[in-house]
Symmetry: C2
Subunit: 238 residues, 2 copies
Amino acid sequence: MTESQPGQIDRADRILDAAKELLLRWGYRRVTIDEIARHAGVGKGTVYLHWRSREQLFFAVGAREAVAMLTAVVAAMRQDPKEIALHRYMRRFFLEAMSRPVLRAIFTRDGDVLDRFLSSPARRPLQSSKLLASREYLGVLADNGLLRADLRPADLDYTLPAVVFGFFGIDPFLADEVELSLPDKADQLADTLRHAFEPAKPPSSARFAAAAPPVIAVFDGHTDDYRRAAYGASTDQR
Amino acid sequence: MTESQPGQIDRADRILDAAKELLLRWGYRRVTIDEIARHAGVGKGTVYLHWRSREQLFFAVGAREAVAMLTAVVAAMRQDPKEIALHRYMRRFFLEAMSRPVLRAIFTRDGDVLDRFLSSPARRPLQSSKLLASREYLGVLADNGLLRADLRPADLDYTLPAVVFGFFGIDPFLADEVELSLPDKADQLADTLRHAFEPAKPPSSARFAAAAPPVIAVFDGHTDDYRRAAYGASTDQR
DNA sequence: CTGATGACCGGAATGGTATTCTGGTCATCA
DNA sequence: TGATGACCAGAATACCATTCCGGTCATCAG
C-alpha cells in the first residue's frame, strides 16, 4: 500500500502542482508527462505510481481544486448557518469556481486550456452536476422549509443545473453588451435562485440552525470523496 | 432592382428550401453551392443574385426560420394578451425553437450540423441575444408592471440570456439523469422565469391588454427585420 | 527487498506536399 | 436583360514519412 504516508502525499502534491502550473500555461494537449515529472523532480514512472493514466492525473488536479473550493464553502457554512441557503451557497460556489483558474476552465468549458480533456469519453469533468446539486443537500433544504413548498424536488435535478450552467456559460455570447463584474454576476445568480427556488418570505434563523449540521455533513462527505479522487493510486476511481 | 417580384421570392424560397434540407442532411461544411443550385433547379450564379456569399445564404435559412417562429409567437399574442408575459413568451420561444431543426441546431450550438458556421467571425448566429431579449419588449413590460418592481432593467440584459441559455444548453451534460419531455422543460423554464423576474402577484388582465399592442408592434418589427435578412441581395445585411 | 527510475515500444499526432474540391466571377447566351 | 456554367485561385483533403509521447517493465539504488 502506497498512500497514507505523509511523504507520498507531499510528492503527489508536488506532481499536482507541476501539472496544474503547466496545464494553465500550455493547455491540456501540450503538457507531457515527462515535463510534469521533470518539474516535480521525479521520474516519469513515479507519476504512474500515483495515477494510472494521464487522464486520471489531470482529473486529480481538478479534484484537488474542488477540495479547496468545498473547504471554503463549508467553512463559510460553519461560520454562518444562513450560508446554507441555496442562493448563498451557489453565489459562493460561483465566485470560488470562477476565481480558481483550473475550475473556471472546467466550468466555462474553456477549450483553449482543456481542449481535448473536455471531449473525454463520458468523463463529465468533475461530474459537475453531482458536484453542483447534490440531492442530499436539496433534500435537507426541502425538509426544513428552505425551498419553495410547491416545488417538486425532482424538478430541481433539471432546472437548477440548467440555470447555473447558463451563468457559467453565457459570457462568450454577450460580448460587447454590459460587462458586469464577477461579484455582480454572482449577485444576479443568487437573486435569480432565491426568487425562483426559495420561499417568498425568508425562513426563520431557527430553520437554518436546524438544517446546517446535516448540510455540512453532506458537504464534508463530498469533500472527502474528492480528496480521495485527488490522491492515491490504490483508490478505486473506477 | 431584383426583389419585390413574386417570382423572385418563390425562387429564393426554393433555394432556401434546398439549402435547409441539405444543411440538415449533411451539415454546414459538406453542402456545396452547386448542390444547392441543382436541388433548387437553378444555375449556381443565380444563387449569387440573391445572396452575396455562402455565409449570407445560410444566415438567410436561419432568418426565414426565425420569421416562422416569430409569426407563431405574435399570432399567439394576438389571440391572448396574457401571452406577452415574459414566462409565456419564453416558454413558447423555447418550444418553437426546439421544434424547428434549424433553430434547434443554432440555439443548442449543435456542432454536427453547424460546425464551421458557428465559429464564423463575430457573426453571432442570428444575433441570438438580440432576438431573445429585446430591450424594447422588456421596457414595455416594465412600464406596465409586468416585471418585478425591484428589478433594474439593465440587469436583465445579462441575467435573462444567462438563464435561457442554460435551458438551451444543459441537455448534453445531464445524460442519464431525469429525462424530461420538451414541454416539461419548457414549463420548468417558464416557472423559473415567472418567479425570478415577474411580480409575485399576477397583474390584472387590464395590464396585459394595455401592454399587448406595443409588444406586438415590437415583435412585428423584429419579424420584418428577419424577413428582410432572409430575402434579397440588394438589402444591406452589412 | 522495496520502491524509484528512465530506456524502450507501439500507436497516435504532426508536418510537408501533391491533388482535389469549391466559392465566387464574368463572358456568353437565350 | 436576367440566367447560366466554364473557369480560376485558393482552400481543403489525402497521403506518407517522421516525430512525439503515454504507458510498461527490466534494472538499479538504498
